[in-house]
Subunit: 182 residues, 2 copies
DNA sequence: CGAATCGTTGAAAGCAGTCAACTAGGGTGG
DNA sequence: CCACCCTAGTTGACTGCTTTCAACGATTCG
Protein backbone atom coordinates (compact mmCIF):
# COMPACT_ATOMS: atom_id res chain seq x y z
CA UNK A 1 0.00 0.00 0.00
CA UNK A 2 1.22 3.46 -0.87
CA UNK A 3 0.04 6.72 0.66
CA UNK A 4 0.43 10.23 -0.57
CA UNK A 5 0.35 12.99 2.01
CA UNK A 6 -2.21 15.65 1.08
CA UNK A 7 -2.20 17.81 4.23
CA UNK A 8 -0.09 18.08 7.35
CA UNK A 9 3.32 16.88 8.45
CA UNK A 10 4.34 13.30 9.19
CA UNK A 11 7.46 11.99 10.88
CA UNK A 12 9.28 8.99 9.40
CA UNK A 13 11.45 7.00 11.77
CA UNK A 14 13.20 3.75 12.48
CA UNK A 15 13.56 2.27 15.90
CA UNK A 16 15.73 -0.32 17.63
CA UNK A 17 14.45 -2.86 20.12
CA UNK A 18 16.07 -0.98 22.99
CA UNK A 19 14.19 2.21 22.17
CA UNK A 20 16.89 4.13 20.33
CA UNK A 21 15.18 5.94 17.49
CA UNK A 22 16.30 7.67 14.34
CA UNK A 23 13.98 10.03 12.52
CA UNK A 24 14.84 9.64 8.84
CA UNK A 25 12.74 12.49 7.58
CA UNK A 26 9.55 14.46 7.60
CA UNK A 27 6.83 14.05 4.97
CA UNK A 28 4.97 17.07 3.64
CA UNK A 29 2.05 17.28 1.22
CA UNK A 30 3.02 15.66 -2.06
CA UNK A 31 5.37 13.13 -0.51
CA UNK A 32 4.81 9.41 -0.89
CA UNK A 33 4.96 6.86 1.91
CA UNK A 34 5.85 3.30 1.04
CA UNK A 35 6.82 1.71 -2.23
CA UNK A 36 4.57 0.36 -4.99
CA UNK A 37 7.07 -2.47 -5.47
CA UNK A 38 7.09 -3.89 -1.98
CA UNK A 39 4.51 -4.65 0.67
CA UNK A 40 7.07 -4.09 3.41
CA UNK A 41 7.00 -0.62 4.86
CA UNK A 42 10.45 0.94 4.72
CA UNK A 43 9.91 2.71 8.03
CA UNK A 44 7.39 3.76 10.65
CA UNK A 45 5.31 6.90 10.43
CA UNK A 46 3.45 9.07 12.83
CA UNK A 47 1.45 12.25 12.40
CA UNK A 48 2.95 15.38 13.93
CA UNK A 49 -0.20 17.39 13.37
CA UNK A 50 -3.49 16.73 11.61
CA UNK A 51 -2.53 14.72 8.54
CA UNK A 52 -4.60 13.53 5.62
CA UNK A 53 -3.37 11.05 3.05
CA UNK A 54 -4.58 9.58 -0.19
CA UNK A 55 -4.42 5.81 -0.18
CA UNK A 56 -3.16 4.10 -3.31
CA UNK A 57 -3.59 0.37 -3.79
CA UNK A 58 -0.35 -1.18 -4.87
CA UNK A 59 -1.69 -3.07 -7.87
CA UNK A 60 -3.81 -0.33 -9.41
CA UNK A 61 -1.09 2.23 -8.70
CA UNK A 62 1.46 0.11 -10.55
CA UNK A 63 -0.94 -0.28 -13.45
CA UNK A 64 -1.44 3.46 -13.49
CA UNK A 65 2.30 4.11 -13.50
CA UNK A 66 2.84 1.67 -16.36
CA UNK A 67 0.19 3.50 -18.34
CA UNK A 68 1.62 6.92 -17.50
CA UNK A 69 5.39 6.92 -17.97
CA UNK A 70 5.40 10.63 -17.31
CA UNK A 71 4.25 10.04 -13.72
CA UNK A 72 6.67 7.17 -13.39
CA UNK A 73 9.42 9.48 -14.52
CA UNK A 74 8.39 12.11 -11.95
CA UNK A 75 8.45 9.50 -9.19
CA UNK A 76 11.94 8.44 -10.20
CA UNK A 77 13.11 12.02 -10.20
CA UNK A 78 11.66 12.56 -6.73
CA UNK A 79 13.16 9.31 -5.44
CA UNK A 80 16.62 10.27 -6.70
CA UNK A 81 16.33 13.67 -5.09
CA UNK A 82 15.32 12.09 -1.80
CA UNK A 83 18.27 9.74 -2.04
CA UNK A 84 20.57 12.73 -2.41
CA UNK A 85 18.86 14.44 0.53
CA UNK A 86 19.42 11.30 2.58
CA UNK A 87 23.10 11.36 1.65
CA UNK A 88 23.35 14.99 2.68
CA UNK A 89 21.86 14.10 6.01
CA UNK A 90 24.36 11.27 6.41
CA UNK A 91 27.13 13.84 6.16
CA UNK A 92 25.45 15.78 8.94
CA UNK A 93 24.90 12.72 11.13
CA UNK A 94 28.36 11.30 10.64
CA UNK A 95 30.51 14.41 10.64
CA UNK A 96 28.58 17.38 12.02
CA UNK A 97 28.83 18.81 15.52
CA UNK A 98 25.68 19.36 17.57
CA UNK A 99 25.55 23.02 16.62
CA UNK A 100 26.11 22.34 12.93
CA UNK A 101 23.42 19.69 12.95
CA UNK A 102 20.86 22.02 14.44
CA UNK A 103 21.79 25.01 12.26
CA UNK A 104 21.64 22.97 9.07
CA UNK A 105 18.33 21.49 10.13
CA UNK A 106 16.75 24.90 10.69
CA UNK A 107 18.05 26.24 7.39
CA UNK A 108 16.80 23.32 5.34
CA UNK A 109 13.54 23.05 7.22
CA UNK A 110 12.87 26.70 6.58
CA UNK A 111 13.50 26.13 2.88
CA UNK A 112 11.12 23.17 2.78
CA UNK A 113 8.33 24.21 5.11
CA UNK A 114 8.22 27.86 4.12
CA UNK A 115 7.87 27.14 0.45
CA UNK A 116 4.64 29.12 0.29
CA UNK A 117 5.93 32.69 0.05
CA UNK A 118 9.50 33.85 0.34
CA UNK A 119 11.81 32.41 2.96
CA UNK A 120 10.35 33.67 6.18
CA UNK A 121 12.51 34.43 9.18
CA UNK A 122 9.90 32.89 11.42
CA UNK A 123 10.37 29.15 11.11
CA UNK A 124 7.51 27.09 12.54
CA UNK A 125 8.58 23.93 14.32
CA UNK A 126 5.55 21.65 14.52
CA UNK A 127 7.60 18.71 15.75
CA UNK A 128 8.75 18.12 19.33
CA UNK A 129 12.27 18.48 20.67
CA UNK A 130 12.44 14.70 20.73
CA UNK A 131 11.74 14.49 17.02
CA UNK A 132 14.40 17.08 16.28
CA UNK A 133 16.89 15.32 18.53
CA UNK A 134 16.19 11.92 16.99
CA UNK A 135 16.47 13.44 13.52
CA UNK A 136 19.90 14.88 14.31
CA UNK A 137 21.23 11.94 16.28
CA UNK A 138 21.37 13.94 19.50
CA UNK A 139 19.62 13.95 22.87
CA UNK A 140 16.86 16.42 23.70
CA UNK A 141 19.12 17.96 26.32
CA UNK A 142 21.82 18.70 23.76
CA UNK A 143 19.28 20.24 21.38
CA UNK A 144 17.99 22.38 24.20
CA UNK A 145 21.49 23.53 25.07
CA UNK A 146 22.27 24.41 21.45
CA UNK A 147 19.07 26.44 21.15
CA UNK A 148 19.87 28.30 24.36
CA UNK A 149 23.39 29.01 23.13
CA UNK A 150 22.18 30.35 19.76
CA UNK A 151 19.61 32.44 21.59
CA UNK A 152 22.31 33.94 23.84
CA UNK A 153 24.35 34.74 20.72
CA UNK A 154 21.32 36.51 19.22
CA UNK A 155 21.21 34.19 16.25
CA UNK A 156 17.59 33.29 16.92
CA UNK A 157 14.76 33.73 19.37
CA UNK A 158 12.26 31.15 20.59
CA UNK A 159 8.64 32.15 20.24
CA UNK A 160 5.44 30.14 20.63
CA UNK A 161 4.99 30.31 16.85
CA UNK A 162 8.42 28.95 16.04
CA UNK A 163 12.00 30.10 15.79
CA UNK A 164 12.60 33.74 14.92
CA UNK A 165 15.85 33.90 12.96
CA UNK A 166 17.78 37.14 13.31
CA UNK A 167 19.31 38.97 10.36
CA UNK A 168 22.70 37.51 11.01
CA UNK A 169 21.43 34.28 9.53
CA UNK A 170 22.72 35.16 6.10
CA UNK A 171 26.27 35.22 7.38
CA UNK A 172 28.75 32.38 7.01
CA UNK A 173 26.72 29.23 7.28
CA UNK A 174 27.82 27.11 10.17
CA UNK A 175 27.98 24.05 8.02
CA UNK A 176 29.57 25.00 4.74
CA UNK A 177 29.73 22.46 2.03
CA UNK A 178 31.72 22.23 -1.11
CA UNK A 179 31.80 19.09 -3.07
CA UNK A 180 34.94 18.10 -4.83
CA UNK A 181 33.47 16.22 -7.75
CA UNK A 182 35.98 13.87 -9.28
CA UNK B 1 25.86 12.43 -17.58
CA UNK B 2 25.05 9.06 -16.04
CA UNK B 3 27.44 6.17 -15.55
CA UNK B 4 26.72 2.54 -14.86
CA UNK B 5 29.39 0.56 -13.10
CA UNK B 6 30.25 -2.61 -15.01
CA UNK B 7 33.29 -3.86 -13.06
CA UNK B 8 34.99 -3.03 -9.80
CA UNK B 9 34.08 -1.06 -6.70
CA UNK B 10 33.68 2.68 -6.40
CA UNK B 11 33.41 4.84 -3.32
CA UNK B 12 30.80 7.62 -3.16
CA UNK B 13 31.46 10.45 -0.75
CA UNK B 14 30.73 14.01 0.24
CA UNK B 15 33.24 16.35 1.71
CA UNK B 16 33.28 19.59 3.68
CA UNK B 17 35.66 22.45 3.03
CA UNK B 18 37.64 21.64 6.18
CA UNK B 19 38.33 18.09 5.02
CA UNK B 20 35.73 16.19 6.99
CA UNK B 21 34.39 13.48 4.74
CA UNK B 22 31.39 11.20 4.72
CA UNK B 23 31.34 8.11 2.53
CA UNK B 24 27.69 7.68 1.53
CA UNK B 25 28.06 4.32 -0.12
CA UNK B 26 29.94 1.96 -2.33
CA UNK B 27 28.95 1.28 -5.94
CA UNK B 28 29.17 -2.23 -7.35
CA UNK B 29 28.56 -3.50 -10.89
CA UNK B 30 25.01 -2.64 -11.93
CA UNK B 31 24.82 0.53 -9.86
CA UNK B 32 24.19 3.90 -11.46
CA UNK B 33 26.12 7.08 -10.73
CA UNK B 34 24.40 10.40 -11.25
CA UNK B 35 20.88 11.22 -12.28
CA UNK B 36 19.39 11.45 -15.77
CA UNK B 37 17.34 14.43 -14.56
CA UNK B 38 20.12 16.68 -13.35
CA UNK B 39 23.53 17.68 -14.58
CA UNK B 40 24.73 18.25 -11.02
CA UNK B 41 26.54 15.29 -9.56
CA UNK B 42 24.98 14.27 -6.28
CA UNK B 43 28.36 13.35 -4.82
CA UNK B 44 31.99 12.63 -5.57
CA UNK B 45 33.30 9.26 -6.64
CA UNK B 46 36.62 7.53 -6.60
CA UNK B 47 37.68 4.08 -7.73
CA UNK B 48 38.74 1.71 -4.96
CA UNK B 49 40.10 -0.82 -7.41
CA UNK B 50 40.09 -1.14 -11.19
CA UNK B 51 36.66 0.13 -12.23
CA UNK B 52 35.01 0.20 -15.62
CA UNK B 53 31.81 2.11 -16.33
CA UNK B 54 29.39 2.53 -19.17
CA UNK B 55 28.76 6.14 -19.99
CA UNK B 56 25.19 7.17 -20.72
CA UNK B 57 24.41 10.53 -22.26
CA UNK B 58 21.65 12.23 -20.34
CA UNK B 59 19.45 13.06 -23.31
CA UNK B 60 19.57 9.73 -25.12
CA UNK B 61 19.25 7.90 -21.81
CA UNK B 62 16.08 9.83 -20.97
CA UNK B 63 14.72 9.08 -24.42
CA UNK B 64 15.49 5.42 -23.92
CA UNK B 65 13.75 5.38 -20.54
CA UNK B 66 10.68 7.06 -21.95
CA UNK B 67 10.53 4.41 -24.67
CA UNK B 68 11.08 1.57 -22.18
CA UNK B 69 8.84 2.04 -19.15
CA UNK B 70 9.97 -1.35 -17.94
CA UNK B 71 13.52 -0.04 -17.46
CA UNK B 72 12.18 3.15 -15.96
CA UNK B 73 10.22 1.07 -13.51
CA UNK B 74 13.31 -0.94 -12.59
CA UNK B 75 15.27 2.25 -11.97
CA UNK B 76 12.53 3.55 -9.70
CA UNK B 77 12.50 0.30 -7.77
CA UNK B 78 16.28 0.46 -7.36
CA UNK B 79 16.17 4.12 -6.32
CA UNK B 80 13.53 3.41 -3.66
CA UNK B 81 15.60 0.53 -2.33
CA UNK B 82 18.66 2.72 -2.14
CA UNK B 83 16.66 5.35 -0.32
CA UNK B 84 15.68 2.75 2.25
CA UNK B 85 19.29 1.62 2.53
CA UNK B 86 20.31 5.23 3.11
CA UNK B 87 17.72 5.48 5.88
CA UNK B 88 19.05 2.31 7.47
CA UNK B 89 22.50 3.78 7.44
CA UNK B 90 21.18 6.96 9.05
CA UNK B 91 20.00 4.85 11.97
CA UNK B 92 23.51 3.47 12.26
CA UNK B 93 25.21 6.87 11.98
CA UNK B 94 22.86 8.61 14.37
CA UNK B 95 22.30 5.97 17.00
CA UNK B 96 24.87 3.19 16.70
CA UNK B 97 27.98 2.73 18.84
CA UNK B 98 31.35 2.27 17.19
CA UNK B 99 31.15 -1.49 17.59
CA UNK B 100 27.60 -1.69 16.25
CA UNK B 101 28.54 0.45 13.27
CA UNK B 102 31.43 -1.79 12.33
CA UNK B 103 29.55 -5.06 12.92
CA UNK B 104 26.59 -3.94 10.87
CA UNK B 105 28.89 -2.76 8.12
CA UNK B 106 30.66 -6.11 7.86
CA UNK B 107 27.39 -8.05 7.86
CA UNK B 108 25.80 -5.96 5.14
CA UNK B 109 28.98 -5.72 3.10
CA UNK B 110 29.29 -9.49 3.16
CA UNK B 111 25.72 -9.76 1.92
CA UNK B 112 26.35 -7.34 -0.92
CA UNK B 113 29.88 -8.17 -2.01
CA UNK B 114 29.60 -11.91 -1.59
CA UNK B 115 26.50 -12.19 -3.74
CA UNK B 116 28.26 -14.61 -6.06
CA UNK B 117 27.95 -17.87 -4.18
CA UNK B 118 26.67 -18.39 -0.67
CA UNK B 119 27.58 -16.00 2.09
CA UNK B 120 31.26 -16.59 2.60
CA UNK B 121 32.88 -16.25 6.00
CA UNK B 122 35.85 -14.60 4.36
CA UNK B 123 34.80 -11.04 3.67
CA UNK B 124 37.11 -9.14 1.33
CA UNK B 125 37.64 -5.51 2.23
CA UNK B 126 38.94 -3.74 -0.87
CA UNK B 127 38.56 -0.30 0.69
CA UNK B 128 40.97 1.32 3.12
CA UNK B 129 40.44 1.87 6.83
CA UNK B 130 39.86 5.51 6.06
CA UNK B 131 36.99 4.67 3.74
CA UNK B 132 35.43 2.41 6.36
CA UNK B 133 35.88 5.06 9.05
CA UNK B 134 34.38 7.79 6.88
CA UNK B 135 31.50 5.50 5.98
CA UNK B 136 30.72 4.85 9.64
CA UNK B 137 31.31 8.36 10.92
CA UNK B 138 34.31 7.27 12.97
CA UNK B 139 38.07 7.85 12.96
CA UNK B 140 40.53 5.30 11.61
CA UNK B 141 41.89 4.85 15.11
CA UNK B 142 38.49 3.89 16.47
CA UNK B 143 37.91 1.43 13.62
CA UNK B 144 41.29 -0.09 14.32
CA UNK B 145 40.48 -0.45 17.99
CA UNK B 146 37.13 -2.08 17.26
CA UNK B 147 38.75 -4.58 14.89
CA UNK B 148 41.37 -5.41 17.50
CA UNK B 149 38.69 -5.88 20.14
CA UNK B 150 36.60 -8.18 17.95
CA UNK B 151 39.76 -10.12 17.10
CA UNK B 152 40.57 -10.56 20.80
CA UNK B 153 37.02 -11.81 21.36
CA UNK B 154 37.48 -14.34 18.55
CA UNK B 155 34.63 -12.88 16.53
CA UNK B 156 36.86 -12.41 13.52
CA UNK B 157 40.42 -12.65 12.27
CA UNK B 158 42.29 -10.24 10.03
CA UNK B 159 43.94 -11.86 7.01
CA UNK B 160 45.55 -10.31 3.95
CA UNK B 161 42.55 -11.51 1.91
CA UNK B 162 39.96 -9.90 4.14
CA UNK B 163 38.14 -10.51 7.40
CA UNK B 164 37.65 -14.11 8.46
CA UNK B 165 34.38 -14.28 10.41
CA UNK B 166 34.21 -16.97 13.06
CA UNK B 167 31.20 -19.24 13.48
CA UNK B 168 29.77 -17.18 16.28
CA UNK B 169 28.65 -14.67 13.70
CA UNK B 170 25.21 -16.23 13.44
CA UNK B 171 24.49 -15.41 17.08
CA UNK B 172 22.49 -12.42 18.24
CA UNK B 173 23.40 -9.61 15.89
CA UNK B 174 25.08 -6.79 17.68
CA UNK B 175 22.73 -4.32 16.12
CA UNK B 176 19.27 -5.83 16.27
CA UNK B 177 16.51 -4.04 14.57
CA UNK B 178 12.79 -4.31 14.79
CA UNK B 179 10.59 -1.76 13.21
CA UNK B 180 7.40 -0.81 14.90
CA UNK B 181 5.31 0.03 11.87
CA UNK B 182 2.42 2.29 12.74
C1' DC C 1 -4.91 21.40 43.02
C1' DG C 2 -2.31 17.38 41.54
C1' DA C 3 -0.60 14.80 37.71
C1' DA C 4 1.50 14.43 33.50
C1' DT C 5 4.13 16.00 29.67
C1' DC C 6 7.56 18.90 27.66
C1' DG C 7 11.43 21.57 27.97
C1' DT C 8 15.52 23.69 30.47
C1' DT C 9 19.61 23.63 33.27
C1' DG C 10 23.50 21.74 36.01
C1' DA C 11 26.99 18.32 37.37
C1' DA C 12 29.34 14.19 36.39
C1' DA C 13 30.52 10.23 33.42
C1' DG C 14 31.77 7.99 29.17
C1' DC C 15 32.62 7.07 24.43
C1' DA C 16 34.97 8.44 20.72
C1' DG C 17 38.38 11.93 19.11
C1' DT C 18 42.95 13.96 19.15
C1' DC C 19 47.75 13.75 19.38
C1' DA C 20 51.71 11.17 19.14
C1' DA C 21 54.75 7.27 18.90
C1' DC C 22 55.55 3.07 16.81
C1' DT C 23 55.32 -1.07 13.39
C1' DA C 24 55.00 -3.11 8.97
C1' DG C 25 55.12 -3.26 4.00
C1' DG C 26 56.36 -1.53 -0.58
C1' DG C 27 58.70 1.11 -3.68
C1' DT C 28 62.86 3.72 -5.07
C1' DG C 29 67.41 4.70 -5.93
C1' DG C 30 72.21 4.73 -4.83
C1' DC D 1 71.37 -5.37 -1.64
C1' DC D 2 70.11 -2.30 1.56
C1' DA D 3 69.29 2.28 3.27
C1' DC D 4 65.67 5.42 2.87
C1' DC D 5 61.20 7.12 2.58
C1' DC D 6 56.38 6.99 2.31
C1' DT D 7 51.96 5.24 3.35
C1' DA D 8 48.68 2.32 5.99
C1' DG D 9 47.64 0.66 10.14
C1' DT D 10 48.08 -0.10 15.29
C1' DT D 11 48.42 1.24 20.02
C1' DG D 12 48.56 4.31 24.11
C1' DA D 13 47.62 8.47 26.89
C1' DC D 14 44.85 12.23 27.35
C1' DT D 15 41.15 15.51 26.00
C1' DG D 16 36.56 16.88 25.06
C1' DC D 17 31.97 16.83 23.24
C1' DT D 18 27.94 14.71 24.01
C1' DT D 19 25.36 11.76 27.02
C1' DT D 20 23.55 10.49 31.31
C1' DC D 21 21.40 11.39 35.53
C1' DA D 22 18.86 14.42 38.17
C1' DA D 23 16.44 18.43 39.64
C1' DC D 24 13.66 22.12 38.35
C1' DG D 25 10.22 25.19 35.65
C1' DA D 26 6.26 25.78 32.51
C1' DT D 27 2.06 24.36 30.53
C1' DT D 28 -1.94 21.61 29.94
C1' DC D 29 -5.65 18.84 31.49
C1' DG D 30 -8.65 16.22 34.38
Amino acid sequence: MVYMVTHGTACLYKMLTDGRRQVVGFALPGDFLGSPFSDRYPCSVYAINEVTVRQLLRGPFLTFLRAHPKSLSLMLEAALQEKTAAHDHMLLLGRGTAEEKFAEFIISWRARAGRRGALANLVPLPMSRRDVADFLGLTIETVSRVVTKLERENVLRVTPEGLQLMGSTERPLLFERSYKVT
